[in-house]
Amino acid sequence: MTELTLSLGIGVLVGSGVWLLLRPRTYQVIVGLSLIAYGVNLFIFSMGRLRSGVPPVLDGSGIVDPAAYTDPVPQALVLTAIVIGFATTALFLVVLLVARGLTGSDHVDGREP
């Protein structure tokens, strides 16, 4: 059930994001991209399968059993993705502000249709 819930959550995040991505105003696009980023990060994260209470933090003693911990690789990937997503969001935000200042319009094409 956890899997189904999370899958539906990812689907709704991505669907809402795609809808916003296709809208004409820059602000809608930036919100859309953020929503897609949440969805995609969760998607990548879920490639390591869902397990509760087994974070990949070792106790630092003796032989390590990999099965006792959740998969750390998708987590490392997503951590990077979160930071890069933050950077691109910031960049896009500034681009949209500057574009709005230069063109006088917040339409994605820089002019009202």
Binding site: M1, T2, E3, T5, L6, S7, G9, I10, V12, L13, V14, S16, V18, L20, L21, L22, R25, Y27, Q28, I30, V31, L35, L42, F43, F45, S46, G48, R49, R51, S52, P56, V57, L58, G60, V64, P66, Y69, D71, P72, V73, Q75, A76, L79, T80, I82, V83, I84, G85, F86, A87, T89, A90, L93, V94, L97, R100, G101, G104, D106, D109
Partner: protein
């Protein structure tokens, strides 16, 4: 006897010398000449010394391992045929260097010339000495590039630029085709090694891909060797300095094409396709080149068309598929190189001494420069195929081959006639050249008073002409053995019996030679007076200008078609592009998933949790709400979006990812603040008033986008579910978990992966972050708000109206607004600094790390902005974020480079624990320093973006004030 290492020197030496030549001062003519001459001579001697190893017909190989995993190896290989070419390249190259010293004027930037020249010679040697097909293509392309640079040497001259560009375009396209052909050969044979390919002739000829291979390889060879219909670039390349022409168009560049055809002859020749394509191109080139040559007025133009014609002759000989034809072709390559190089040099001397190359203006130079005239006459006679000269011998062989029967085709039937006609033309243009330059009288005074050139300028011509004579008189004893080893290395066991004798008796080929000589001479007498004053180029054909056709094709392809495609397929509007991208992604996913079953047989048993479900009901509602509100209610949408982010964060906690949750939470805070700072600059949005028709269309568009969004969301949900319920395969995760502590010295596996195992990725990532921050900073320095956003906002105006303490001309906030929270926020600053340090230090073992610590500290700065306003913070800010970014990157890089010093690869880390007083045991892996770099960079980048955005609110006040002042002045 020398080892294979010499081969590598032969190629490395010219490139090294080229780099040295580039660095010499621009007036170092003698130093450049000594350097280049010395290098070419050294190569010549090395080539000579290799000969004993290959005389018997075997090849010397030297391999250098390159990418052994891909089966790529640098192989240098010399056999008799390659040896012959290496001799021609280094020998004629050496003579050209001597000649150049006296030809080039002191004003010419001489280092550039020798730099290109040496690099070109190196590339050409690379082509002939390559034992690997891909390597051959790379050197082939290098010859195209360096010949482009050499032809365009006098780039202030438009015709040099055009000629260079054209030769690069034509030979470059050919090079691409050749690469395709070589890749196909490699695919068929299973190896790119020349020896293996040469041993797979039958396999190649019978393969289905034979025709594509043949066409692609021939495209490369024909463009390089200026075969019809690609001959037009060569005359335009005559804008190059004459030494370049003497080198490129006698022994090297254009010979690469016929070299390749001869090299591949054992595997590609002998089929009807080969006979027809190569034969037709060769015959047309042979006859047309010779015909066009007669009507040139520029000496170099005449020689250029003559070169085209002779290359056609070689091509035609190769087309026949008979071993004797190949022998004649190889022999003629050698002969043509010697007499054509000397003729180009003679043309350069004439140009140099008289100031013109136009044969209508020249005449009577025999008395002024008798020695040069004699040398040129002998060389021309060789070009015309007069007996006792080397050109005669190979031409006799050509005639003998032309009359043989090779294939049942009209092409074979007309071959002898074409041969005689072209030879007669050759006689005509040779006589024409000699007669109009050295005999008669110049119709008007020459631009310069002619006299003999310096001895060393004449010496190379003399040596080459001497070779023409010696080879022509006693061929068997001079070039005989060398030609034989070249022939054997190409033909192997099928080497036929051939005779190099000058006299074979009264044979049919001799008759043909006599007919050609007489007919050519008669033709010259007939059209002599016409030529004396005629326009450049042959009658009638003058209008068909290859150059113009080329330009038109270029314009059509690179301008008209491009515009057409852009007009049809391109759009400058973002929405259609994004829609297309989403649609392509959707279709690609559906096509891939169509086949296999979406759900596996065995599913993971999942747990059920009501709280988790409720959480995600909220999360989904937030996402949909954000999508719904983003147009008219931006603040609401931002809150809802953050709500979805929060649910994501909780999910990470729930599903054993504490590091992700921490990072997500802090990033969420910073992102929200950034967007909040930006909201102020966006225009207020009102519902548009639409006509019913517009409303209908926009509704339709929304339905379409809605359907796409639903499809994407549904697809993602299905794929996610399908993956999540599958049993995971064996992954690399186990390795990381098992080795995080023993190798990385940390118990937080995610952090160890980031700063140790995959440290290089993280290094790239923080670099991106730094670049983004600086880009944001720079973009905002140029920020100009839209007119309606300048001035205070509505809310600020309301507040100012009610607030007596507000400053005149637009206050910032109500005094004492949120006084208690702001004091607390200011007090929190040191607390957050400690928290950040804590997060940083424990990062290697427990959730935390450089990223999180950096963003945490950045949020301390955000709090100060919230508490006291932009102006207050900026007055007190002592952090220089750009420096933090720089230091962060440097620390991270230095940690990586540090491991070099200890002999380990970049970013190898060392782990141990240090006992600190009070704090206790602290992990002190070198990865900690790396993480410190990450921390500094993340902090700097985040703070930089924040203050750059926040600063705008002060700037707009200033802008508003300036505007108000200006208005007052006007009144």
């Amino acid at each position: 006897m020398l080892g294979g290492a010499t081969l590598i020197w032969m190629i490395v030496l010219p490139f090294v010398a080229s780099a040295v030549a580039a660095l010499l001062p621009s007036n170092a003519r003698n130093a450049e000449a000594w350097l280049s001459g010395g290098v070419m001579l050294a190569i010549l001697i090395m080539v000579m010394m290799v000969y004993p190893d290959i005389a018997a017909g075997n090849a010397v190989r030297q391999g250098v391992s390159w990418v052994p995993e891909l089966g790529l190896e640098l192989v240098f290989r010399i056999d008799g045929f390659a040896w012959m070419f290496a001799m021609l390249i280094s020998g004629i190259g050496f003579l050209v260097v001597i000649y150049t010293r006296y030809y080039m004027s002191p004003e010419d930037p001489i280092p550039r010339f020798y730099m290109f020249f040496l690099a070109f010679a190196g590339s050409m040697l690379g082509v002939v000495l390559s034992g690997n097909l891909i390597q051959l293509v790379i050197f082939w392309e290098l010859t195209s590039i360096f010949s482009f640079l050499l032809i365009g040497y006098w780039y202030h001259n438009p015709s040099a630029r055009d000629g260079a560009r054209m030769s690069l375009t034509v030979t470059g396209i050919g090079g691409m085709a050749l690469l395709g052909g070589m890749l196909l050969i490699g695919h068929v044979v299973g190896s790119y090694d020349l020896d293996e390919v040469l041993a797979s002739g039958d396999l190649l000829r019978e393969h289905d891909l034979y025709r594509p291979i043949l066409i692609l390889v021939l495209l490369g060879a024909f463009t390089k060797s200026a075969q019809f219909p690609f001959q037009f670039w060569l005359p335009n390349a005559m804008a190059a300095p004459t030494p370049v022409s003497a080198f490129l168009h006698s022994a090297t560049m254009v010979k690469a094409g016929v070299f390749l055809m001869a090299r591949m002859w054992p595997v590609l020749a002998g089929t009807y396709e080969w006979f027809f394509i190569v034969g037709l191109a060769g015959m047309i080139t042979l006859v047309l080149g010779a015909f066009f040559s007669i009507f040139q007025q520029d000496i170099k133009g005449l020689l250029a068309y003559s070169t085209i014609s002779h290359l056609g002759l070689i091509t035609m000989l190769l087309s026949l598929g008979s071993p004797l034809g190949a022998v004649a072709a190889i022999f003629h390559m050698m002969n043509h190189a010697t007499f054509k190089a000397s003729l180009f040099m003679a043309a350069g001397i004439i140009d140099h001494e008289t100031g013109t190359r136009d044969m209508r203006r020249l005449g009577g130079l025999l008395s002024a420069m008798p020695i040069t005239a004699t040398l040129a006459m002998v060389a021309s006679a060789a070009m015309a195929g007069v007996p006792l000269l080397n050109g005669f011998l190979s031409k006799e062989m050509f005639f003998a081959e032309a009359i043989e029967h090779h294939a049942d085709s009209w092409l074979d039937t007309i071959a002898p006639y074409a041969a005689v006609v072209a030879s007669a033309f050759a006689v005509t243009y040779s006589i024409r050249f000699i007669h109009s330059v050295f005999f008669g009288a110049a119709p008007e005074p020459l631009p310069r008073e002619p006299h003999e050139p310096p001895f060393f300028m004449r010496l190379p011509v003399f040596l080459l002409v001497l070779i023409c004579l010696i080879v022509g008189i006693v061929p068997g004893r001079t070039v005989g053995p060398y030609l034989h080893s070249a022939v054997v290395s190409v033909l192997g066991d099928s080497t036929p019996y051939y005779s190099l004798a000058v006299w074979h008796g009264f044979t049919l080929p001799l008759m043909m030679s006599i007919v050609a000589l007489v007919a050519g001479a008669l033709m010259f007498l007939t059209i002599r007076s016409y030529l004396a004053t005629s326009e450049e180029g042959p009658p009638y054909f003058r209008r068909i200008n290859g150059q113009r056709i080329f330009e038109q094709v270029m314009v059509t392809v690179s301008w008209r078609w491009a515009r057409f495609l852009e007009g049809w397929l391109g759009t400058r509007r973002l929405q259609p592009q994004l829609r297309l991208m989403v649609a392509i992604a959707l279709i690609a996913a559906i096509l891939t998933l169509w086949r296999g079953p979406l759900l596996p047989e065995v599913r993971l048993a999942g747990s059920t949790d009501v709280v988790f479900t409720i959480l995600w009901v909220i999360g989904m509602a937030c996402a949909i709400g954000a999508a719904y509100q983003a147009k008219f209610h931006r603040l609401v949408a931002l809150m809802l979006m953050s709500g979805a982010g929060l649910i994501t964060c909780i999910t990470f906690v729930w599903l054993s990812a504490p590091d992700l949750a921490l990072t997500q939470l802090l990033v969420e805070v910073v992102t929200t603040v950034l967007i909040l700072l930006g909201l102020r600059w966006l225009p207020q949005r009102f519902a548009e008033v639409e006509t019913p028709v517009q409303a209908f269309w926009s509704r339709l568009r929304r339905y379409r986008d809605f359907a796409m969004a639903i499809a994407c969301g549904l697809g993602m949900a299905m794929i996610s579910y399908a993956v999540m319920v599958r049993q995971p395969p064996q992954t690399i995760a186990d390795y990381f978990v098992e080795n995080a502590y023993p190798l990385g010295g940390g118990t937080n596996v995610v952090n160890v992966i980031l700063v140790d195992f995959r440290g290089f990725d993280t290094f790239g990532e923080i670099t991106v972050l730094g670049i983004v921050a600086i880009t944001v900073f720079v973009l905002l320095r140029r920020f100009r708000p839209a007119p309606e956003s300048v001035g205070s906002t509505q809310q600020q105006r309301h507040q100012s109206a009610d607030d007596p303490a507000a400053m005149p001309g637009g206050g910032t906030i109500v005094a004492d607004y949120l006084y208690v929270p702001s004091v607390i926020m200011q007090w929190l600053f040191p607390v957050i600094v400690v928290l950040s340090a804590y997060l940083f230090l424990r990062g290697h073992d427990l959730p935390g790390g450089g990223f999180v610590a950096g963003i945490a500290l950045a949020s301390a700065f955000i709090l100060q902005y919230l508490a006291a306003g932009t102006r207050w913070v900026e007055e007190r800010l002592r952090v220089l974020p750009v420096k933090w970014i720089g230091w962060g990157l440097l620390i991270a890089a230095a940690t990586g480079i540090g491991s070099w010093a200890l002999g380990y690869p970049f970013l190898t880390s060392h782990a141990q624990y240090v006992e600190l007083p009070v704090i206790g045991k602290v992990p002190a892996a070198t990865a900690l320093f790396f993480d410190l770099g990450v921390f500094a960079l993340v902090l700097g980048a985040t703070v930089l973006m924040l203050i750059a955005l926040a600063h705008q609110s002060i700037r707009k006040l200033r802008a508003a004030k300036t505007a108000a002042l200006a208005e007052q002045e006007v009144q």
